[in-house]
Subunit: 420 residues, 2 copies
Amino acid sequence: MIQEMGRKAKASARILSGCSREQKDRAILELAESLERFQDEVLAANKVDLKAATEKGLAEALLDRLLLNPGRLSGMANGLRSLAGMGDPVGEIFEAQTLANGLRVHKRRVPLGVIGIIYEARPNVTVDVAGLAIKTGNAAILRGGSETVHSNRVLSDLARLALRVAGLPEDAIQFIDDPERARVLELLQMHESVDLIIPRGGAGLHRFCRENSRIPVITGGIGICHLFVDESADLQASLPLIRNAKVQRPSVCNALDTLLVHRRVASRFLPEVVACLEMDGVTFRAEAEALKLLEQTGRRPDSVTVAGADDFDTEWLSLVLGLKVVSGIEEAIEHIQAHSTFHSDGILTGSQKNAQRFLATVDSSAVYVNASTRFTDGSQLGLGAEVAISTQRLHARGPMGLRELTTYKWVIEGDYHVRE
Amino acid sequence: MIQEMGRKAKASARILSGCSREQKDRAILELAESLERFQDEVLAANKVDLKAATEKGLAEALLDRLLLNPGRLSGMANGLRSLAGMGDPVGEIFEAQTLANGLRVHKRRVPLGVIGIIYEARPNVTVDVAGLAIKTGNAAILRGGSETVHSNRVLSDLARLALRVAGLPEDAIQFIDDPERARVLELLQMHESVDLIIPRGGAGLHRFCRENSRIPVITGGIGICHLFVDESADLQASLPLIRNAKVQRPSVCNALDTLLVHRRVASRFLPEVVACLEMDGVTFRAEAEALKLLEQTGRRPDSVTVAGADDFDTEWLSLVLGLKVVSGIEEAIEHIQAHSTFHSDGILTGSQKNAQRFLATVDSSAVYVNASTRFTDGSQLGLGAEVAISTQRLHARGPMGLRELTTYKWVIEGDYHVRE
């Protein structure tokens, strides 16, 4: 059955790849309308999911992710409308050249083909991904978490309806509504019909995909993020920046996990950091020297405990911050290379030399000088829509936008040219 | 042991990624020199491989691939010298922008990291890949065919020596000289230290890598290539073009495999094709209509036989050509979509409309109008060096040059910016 979905997706992708921007945007706008028009149906299905999840005793945070309401639906609809307003990357021509022998060569951007998305309990992903896939001329096979199966069924049906209304093949969006995990494994083996797997979820899901997939997988979204406060940093300006990186939205991947502080400023700055951030409810895991220093200055409140063995290898996703004193930029870089997931890492410094050394040496998807790690985000960096944040090295790194859902072909035109 | 090679490669890649172009080119030029300086050692080792291969009864074509001689060695050395003369993609800055909030953002090209290359009985690949890896700041772990182990051991030692002489870490190039296939499996699992696998060999090797790798694999190099002769094609000019595509070097992936001919010109053109190419020793596999037509015109020589069930799904790599009559461009496109490996496919036509229809609809890595498929080649298309020809869709398609051995990082510089 999943095999059959793959075949249908591939056939639909072929049709979609040749469709005009207007036709694709019509489907996206139709989906936006229908989220509001069929609001009652969507919310009724969501209520079924919520009831089951509550009975299963799911955590409050998970229930909140699962929840749809009129406000969230119209937010999703507006997201689709702004997506429809964006340019179409498909058909873009680049690196055009005429060779010495007269051959005319260019690269032409084309859709990737069929994308498999495996995600957890966020029904908004269903709509986001449907929109992104249609916009970029790709077909998508969606596999959402079992907790959201009723919501996802209705939402993916709306996407298919929108495709039909726009005269496009409805099988460009298909939803696997069988909750068996075996279906995910089947999907990961279908290299003949699926071109790319994008997992959206925790580290376990990413690992599962990498270990079992015969299809290229975009891994990412896991961020153990660091900021290093150099001795020459503007400490007064650093404090609100660090607070922004840690506190603004602690549950996301670009939030700060570990603060490294230069020894020369640590005894002055660390107590300020603790005093400031503990007002937001942050608790701290301090390595020995940082801990000692906070004790010496009489500023070790209850919020500070000693860092455990794995604490610097933990993505907190909550109001916890690791603290460590380092002897300088080289030790900071070493720590980052040993503990980072290569998502977002930065330096706060007044030294141009150290800034350049950090940018050249730290090889994360996003490297920062004097800015909050929270900017690693498609909308913040001007991509408009965001597909995922890649922390792997192939194809795309960091925030992925529409263009990263495409590939290219070489187009070569001649006058009956033969190779010498 | 392979694990240990991975760790060393990763550490070396980190150092190499920060090295100057001059230093990398020095290593490449040193390797070029040493191929000539240590010619006797290389040829002696190659003789051992050749003797064993001859005793094992390897085919003539394989023995030829394995053979090194002074001419081939100096060809390899000259290839390295021209590589040293090429620009360094590492450090290139692109898509630089200043955001409305004042953040300065750009993408900076960086090496991929550690590349695993798995190849068959071609010792020149050892030298080519060592040069390409050093040039692009990547470390490489090489696994050549067991038939060439003595040659490869000497050649990879020369590459390591060249790195040392240039002051670079010798472990940037490592060679797995244990012929056990289990070592390949181990290499394919090392996702913590290896960033990319490039198989260079036949379809079986590519399949093995895709099925067993936890690391992204660039598959490619398998070409079932098509040319469609439209009714409006310049038939006189088409003949030498088809001959070029089929005959110039039949053993390579961009050689022609199947010729599709428009029904309206088939009875005139097919006999000409057969008469012309059979002088080069080409034999033909004709589907029913083509066969009948050749018989009707009294021009079915011994070189033409009926096409078997799998013949249109075979990459010939030899002087065999499939022949098929089609009703027009749509049937040609359908045949290509059903049988192509999406390497190189082209149309010969006088119709601009049909040319554009073909280019838009046939989604191969390289699509052609009025040119021989033999141009799908890094050096022909202006890339200089060629790493591989990718027929998969992620990261790179078609001929891959130096730039395709790199990735990028986002660099974000601010003045203590926080996200609103």
